[in-house]
């Protein structure tokens, strides 16, 4: 049964399905963060320090992402530079 069926039955109250959907998403995200290596926040902070020597960027302009593909872990750094909205993409493959 879809969310919409819930709404048809009880227009204002059947919000449990929405709660469940939101929990699925936020908990999956929090598990990824919890299971990620401890150095990610520090790495992000230090990158920020180095880059701001040359260009002005905000914290949220740096995206640090770790993905697992089988045995291989890929660390993806995505840094959005301010000026022409140019993006530098750097992929570092680690073990």
């Amino acid at each position: 049964m879809s969310i919409f069926d819930y709404f048809k039955r009880k227009p204002t109250k059947a919000t449990a399905a929405i709660a469940k959907e939101r929990l699925h998403i936020v908990m999956a995200h929090e598990h990824r963060v919890a299971n990620g290596p401890d150095y990610l926040p520090a790495l992000r902070r230090e990158l920020m320090e180095v880059i701001t020597k040359y260009v002005q960027i905000q914290r949220e302009d740096i995206k640090v992402n770790l993905e697992r593909h089988g045995d291989c872990e890929i660390l993806e750094l995505n840094i959005a530079l301010p000026e022409e909205g140019k993006e530098t993409k750097e992929k570092i493959a680690a073990r």
Partner: protein, 269 residues
């Protein structure tokens, strides 16, 4: 072999202390020597729920600081010789807890008791961490409500990362889900997360469902664990939970919505 069981939730006010009191009283009533420890330093409450607040002389922090012996601090329950309470202190002494000092007290209790029930404070700070550190099993108290489920998930993460069993690479803590303040009517109408939803999200086995009930307030008003109110649904639900914990196979009760009569449905209630 004695067992240490932490009653924890992350979120505040979901029913940890109510559950600790009834769970411990239920184990004791079935003949097991049981002690229940209040880890909520600075916010002692278990003594009220157990009805022993006027008999508190020494507390957990006194024992930790060697100002009293365990024997002096333990309070025997007024109606069950198998049940003892170790109250929390009322003064905030955050630094009192260290793994080593708490561990010493737990080891001493292991010699005299079959079950050591740890009533955790809310949050994920030091007190909550200490309450779960030595656990062999855990009761995860959860309300059918979005932030409670998320906080339970955080606590599950801590059990599997920060406990002694996790750090020493031993067999993981056995986790049980206790859903409290459950309202079948509201779950059925889709306004409250259902038991299936909660179990699916948290991925642990359900050991008890305690319905929302007036009797819980009345029991804590009179300082008697609600499990001793045999007439009440929540008392019976706690009895079932204790039996399941001890290995009995009992179906869940009080899960069905009450069928509303025509007038009730018409006028709402």
């Amino acid at each position: 072999m004695s067992k240490v069981i932490v009653v924890t939730s992350g979120k505040g006010g979901v029913g940890k202390t109510t559950t600790s009191a009834s769970f411990a009283a239920g184990l004791a009533n079935r003949g097991h020597r049981t002690v229940v420890i209040d880890f909520d330093i600075g916010l002692r409450n278990l003594d009220l729920v157990m009805g022993c607040e006027r008999r508190v002389v020494y507390d957990f922090v006194n024992v930790i600081n060697d100002e009293a012996t365990l024997k002096q601090a333990l309070i025997r329950d007024k109606s069950d010789n198998n049940l003892h309470i170790l109250p929390a202190s009322q003064t905030r002494d955050k630094d009192a807890f260290t793994e080593e000092k708490v561990g010493k007290v737990i080891d001493e209790l292991r010699e005299d008791f079959d079950y050591i029930v740890c009533d955790s404070p809310a949050g994920i700070e030091k007190g909550a961490l200490m309450a779960l550190f030595y656990a062999d099993e855990a009761l995860i108290v959860t309300n059918p409500e979005i932030s409670s489920v998320r906080d339970s998930d955080r606590i599950l993460g801590m059990l599997s990362a920060k406990s002694q069993r996790a750090i020493q690479g031993e067999e993981p803590i056995k986790e049980h889900l206790v859903v409290t303040r459950y309202s079948p009517n509201r779950a059925e109408s889709g306004e409250m997360l259902s038991l299936d939803d909660i179990q699916e999200l948290l991925g642990i086995d359900l050991i008890g469902v305690i319905p929302e009930s007036e009797a819980v307030l009345q029991a804590s008003n009179s300082g008697v664990p609600v499990i001793r109110d045999e007439q009440s649904k929540s008392g019976q639900a706690y009895q079932d939970m204790v039996a399941r914990f001890l290995g009995e196979d009992i179906p869940m009760r009080f899960l069905e919505a009450e069928k509303k009569g025509f007038l009730k449905r018409f006028f709402g209630a």
